[in-house]
């Protein structure tokens, strides 16, 4: 199973308070930002802050990702010069329009890995799709490198490119979300949804999280710790789902032992996709700790 990436919290790279305290939030991934949240004249400052903080502070089990600047103006390369030698962060490439963007970034990373004495190929990458071209090329982007662990949607730039704006229901993002999800599943990498920026509309946020969960996304980029619990609640299986999954896996094992080809449970046929989904529920519950809690309760 891919690593859990339900919540990916944006941390502005030049905000020292947020950078040093980011570890206290119970997110799956921290995404330190050197791009849009950092003013042009503060890029060097933010780069030094992240370089020192990431090699000093223990963020425990969290996945560490840095959103770098574009490679088209030379700033992205300087970000990579400082970050790759640390050997502990994944790189999120912004505004990925084509597979070639991923390949160019990968080549530069490989060069630094080599000169830093790191094993070439060990730095993971994510690609953020934020334009019409990026959406249409999502499949080739997702397959462009073995380093890719995920593909993410960046909606603010995308809606500008589409000559529209974001709406509460997200109608304008339907095609992009579907393309990114298909591309991610095809390449067996994570699909990460875009940020929800209206912090005063938690009901709207909840509805969007429920929608992207139903679509099949693995998680969402977030901009505020208040958004964490809602995502974790929605993306974690319910107790009933876990118990049903345990029962399905048990019945499957029993049928296998008895050489039965067709399995049924409570009058319903259990076929391969249902078993796969049950296994996925149990894998998620294992990572979230829910499975251990349920097993403890039933063993008491």
């Amino acid at each position: 199973m891919n690593k859990l990436r339900r919540t990916m919290l944006f941390v502005p790279g030049n905000n020292t308070s947020m950078v040093v305290n980011a570890g206290i939030y119970p997110v799956d991934s921290l995404m330190f930002d050197l791009e849009d949240s950092v003013a042009l004249d503060q890029k060097d400052n933010a780069r030094f802050v992240l370089h020192e903080a990431l090699r000093t502070i223990n963020y425990q089990y969290k996945e560490l990702i840095v959103r770098i600047n574009s490679l088209s103006n030379g700033m992205g390369q300087r970000d990579l010069d400082y970050l790759i030698p640390l050997g502990k962060v994944a790189i999120r490439l912004p505004k990925t329009d084509s597979a070639q963007d991923v390949i160019d970034c990968e080549d530069y990373i490989a060069m630094i890995e080599k000169t830093s004495g790191l094993t070439v190929g060990t730095t993971p990458m994510m690609a953020a799709v934020e334009s019409a071209n990026g959406v249409l090329n999502a499949y080739s982007i997702a397959h462009a490198s073995k380093r890719l662990i995920g593909i993410a949607l960046g909606a603010e730039d995308l809606v500008t490119d589409l000559h529209t704006k974001r709406s509460p229901g997200g109608l304008e993002l339907n095609f992009a979300r579907s393309m990114i999800l298909m591309a991610a599943r095809s390449a067996d990498i994570s699909a990460i949804d875009t940020v929800y920026t209206d912090l005063n509309n938690m009901e709207g946020f909840r509805a969007e999280v429920e929608m992207i969960k139903q679509l099949g996304f693995d998680g969402k980029s977030i901009i505020n710790p208040r958004q964490i619990q809602i995502i974790h609640d929605i993306f974690s299986p319910s107790e009933k789902e876990i118990l049903d999954a345990l029962e399905i896996v048990e019945v499957m094992k029993e049928a296998k032992k008895n050489g039965k080809g067709v399995i049924s449970l409570h009058g319903k046929m259990i076929d391969r996709p249902i078993i796969e989904r049950a296994k996925r529920v149990l894998e998620t519950a294992k990572v979230t700790g829910q499975l251990a809690r349920i097993e403890d309760e039933y063993n008491e």
Binding site: T16, H51, T56
Partner: protein, 99 residues
């Protein structure tokens, strides 16, 4: 390295430090520290600043710092940024910045 122009890095926000760096008139290092945690950590902050200046082989700094409770790693980061913006383009290429 030689400091060639005045530079400022950092902010006055909590957990940060604002450093103003310029070359001194007498060719020696001078540190003027104003910290909200001076009593507890003043010596430690001065040590971190002095060590970083030494790492960069800088001996002509007039450094003024207003500290708002920055961790050591942030002090080093802000000072590195100030040095980076104060030295020549040639010195900016030094690998010491990446260590």
């Amino acid at each position: 390295m030689k400091l060639t122009k005045r530079s400022i890095s950092g902010t006055l926000e909590s957990s940060d430090i604002m450093i103003t760096l310029e070359s001194s008139a007498d060719g020696k290092n001078h540190i003027v520290l104003n910290s909200s945690v001076e009593k507890q950590f003043g010596d430690s902050i001065r040590y971190t600043i002095n060590k970083t200046l030494t790492d960069f082989n800088i001996s002509n700094a007039y450094l003024s710092a207003i500290d708002k409770g920055a961790l050591d790693c942030i002090i080093v980061a802000r000072l590195k940024a100030a040095i980076y913006h104060s030295v020549s383009d040639e010195d900016k290429q030094s690998e010491v910045f990446k260590i």
